[in-house]
């Protein structure tokens, strides 16, 4: 990027290389993915949709665990609540697509009071409590007859579109949410807050004594991650479109977020995206072999945890010294004071 105003001693660049190549690449990619429903097969488009949903979740989980040190295994709480917020609003007559931002906001709002409870706990107790909260949310939702109770409910209001128009709209909604989540995370990590999150990732004790208000930062991350997972739940509800407690509140969502972020590399933006790509490539190329892709994926996760704790992206970056989404601060020129 352009150097920041340099009246002082130094100027700061935000990336080591010219961002032009990255920006052109990003523009091409965004163009291609936006047009995908019209240029790729329907089955590939539907795989891409699931991929986007996983990218959203993994990106949020990475903020939680990779940066803010909160290993949540209960993010399915917000996936589920997001899905059910969409279902509820659709039942009340709202266009399901319009409910997506509302579902995200609702999850963020619900997450805020939960932090006051959760943040009393540390480490494993924190993780287990997130899971308990997710199960509690599932049980409560399962008792609401309006939302179909334990058996679930179809999201209404989608039948007025033709089947192809509907799939295209679902694709675009999912893609736009993923794009917003990844771009939003990128700009968050480039901001002052990003430096705070990086300091938490690296050393919480030092962060505190350097003036970082750790609890507020954590609270913000938890709320953002809840909103992001809520949005993922909303698009999931629209694309399924049958919403059921056992599906949307499934622990498997958190397991996938965790695996994918770990394999790709925690504490980087690119890591969870790379992890999601690996996950889908394995799943697609091994789908004839039943559950083998999960076994191989699990083995890969263990191998990465043991030999490459910074994940595949970390290994790649250490070797090639490049970042696709640079968030650093590079001191560029020093005009020595006289």
């Amino acid at each position: 990027m352009t150097p920041v105003d340099s009246h002082g001693l130094i100027s700061i660049r935000r990336s080591t290389h010219s961002p032009v190549i990255t920006m052109v690449g990003a523009a091409v990619l965004v163009g291609l993915l936006s047009a995908a429903p019209w240029i790729v097969s329907q089955s590939l488009a539907s795989i891409l949709m699931n991929f986007f949903i996983l990218v959203i979740m993994a990106t949020m989980w990475n903020l939680l665990a990779g940066y803010a040190g909160m290993v949540s295994i209960g993010q399915q709480a917000f996936v589920g609540l997001g899905a059910y917020a969409t279902l509820y609003l659709a039942i009340k007559g709202m266009n399901p697509f319009v409910t997506i931002p509302l579902a995200a906001a609702a999850c963020g709002i619900i997450a805020l009071p939960i932090t006051y409870l959760l943040f009393r706990l540390r480490g494993g107790y924190f993780s287990i409590a997130t899971w308990v909260i997710a199960d509690t949310a599932m049980l409560i939702i399962g008792t609401i007859a309006l939302l179909g109770g334990g058996t679930g409910h179809l999201v209404p209001g989608l039948s007025n579109l033709s089947p192809t128009a509907l799939t295209d709209a679902e694709y675009l909604a999912t893609w736009i949410v993923a794009l917003l989540v990844v771009a939003g995370t990128y700009f968050l990590l480039r901001s002052r807050v990003g430096l705070v999150l990086a300091s938490l990732r690296d050393n919480e004790v030092a962060a505190r004594s350097a003036g970082v208000r750790v609890t507020s930062a954590r609270r913000m991350v938890f709320v953002i991650a809840a909103a992001g997972c809520g949005a993922a739940g909303a698009v999931l509800a629209i694309s399924q479109p049958f919403v059921q407690p056992g599906n949307e509140f499934n622990l498997q969502w958190s397991a996938e977020m965790l695996f994918v972020s770990m394999i790709g590399g925690l504490g980087t933006i690119e890591g969870p995206i790379l992890g999601s790509i690996v996950f889908f490539v394995l799943q697609q190329s091994l789908q004839q072999q039943g559950a083998w892709y999960l076994i191989i994926f699990g083995a890969l996760a263990m191998a990465v945890a043991i030999w490459q704790p910074r994940g595949l992206w970390g290994a790649f970056r250490d070797r090639f010294h490049m970042e696709l989404m640079p968030v650093g601060h590079w001191v560029r020129e020093t005009k020595r004071p006289k």
Binding site: V4, D5, S6, H7, G8, L9, I10, S11, I12, R192, L195, V196, A198, S199, R201, D202, N203, V205, A206, A207, R208, S209, A210, G211, V212, R213, V214, T215, G267, G328, H329, W330, V331, T334
Partner: protein, 245 residues
């Protein structure tokens, strides 16, 4: 008005007494050294002052405000900067970003001002050349300096230095002394835990001695080092040996 006041501060970890009725004051701009054997409770004392750990009883006042219930972050923003005996760098951030975080959060500076503040802290501690290096790649000397740079970038009125010269060579210690004296001369109060007594003596005008959580001596360095209590604590002469390093 004293900058820092401790009034009857006590703390135990289980059976281990790390602070027992510790009372002392520190004036604005003063430079005070703390000595004492390993396990005396020196680092724990810093922890209670900076807010990393909470005392069991007693009061700690900074600029006449009781800070007992404040978090470490708030105390930092009030003007306490601290370094750790075992350096705590943000390893995956660059040296510059380490200082920048402190300038943006501790000193609450924005934009170019935060860049200048961070860079000035690096220049002051001799790290400017290494600004773009990942902090995790630094050796011990530079890690120690980074601790100081980060504390400085928070814009402190009080600097808490915990064995900042420990493990360094003689010439390295000399460079450090020059830096710390410069800070003292700029009016930053320094509270400095150090085993390298020679380094302390060149900079401080008062010495405290801690042993088993008790403050056994407090006064001009020569008197403290000569006192009966301190000699007993060091089992006859160890402190002199260290002074000769």
């Amino acid at each position: 008005m004293p900058l820092l006041q401790l009034e009857g501060v006590s703390k135990k970890f289980g059976q281990v007494v790390v602070a027992e009725e510790i009372t002392f004051q520190l004036d604005q701009g003063a430079a005070v050294g703390i000595v004492g054997p390993n396990g005396a409770g020196k680092t724990s004392l810093f922890g209670m002052i900076s807010g990393d750990i909470r005392q069991d009883s007693g009061r700690i006042l900074f600029e006449d405000q009781s800070v007992g219930s404040m978090t470490a972050a708030v105390r930092c923003r009030m003007g306490m900067g601290r370094t750790y005996q075992v350096p705590h760098p943000f390893e995956r951030m660059t040296v510059f970003e380490n200082a920048l975080l402190a300038a943006q959060q501790g000193a609450q500076a924005h934009g170019q001002k935060s860049y200048d503040l961070a860079f000035a802290a690096l220049e002051r501690t001799g790290l400017a050349e290494l600004a773009n290096r990942p902090a995790g790649s630094l050796g011990l000397l530079h890690r120690k300096r980074l601790e100081m740079a980060r504390a400085l970038a928070t814009g402190p009125k009080l600097l808490l230095l915990d064995e900042i010269a420990g493990g360094l060579t003689d010439p390295e210690v000399n460079e450090l002394i020059v830096i710390i004296r410069g800070l003292r001369d700029d009016g930053i109060a320094v509270l400095w835990i150090e085993h390298v007594v020679r380094a302390l003596l060149s900079t401080v005008d008062r010495l405290l001695c801690l042993a088993s959580g008790r403050l056994v001596a407090d006064g001009p360095p020569s008197e403290v080092l000569a006192s009966e209590e301190v000699r007993k604590v060091y089992l006859g002469g160890k402190i002199i040996n260290e002074a000769a390093i």
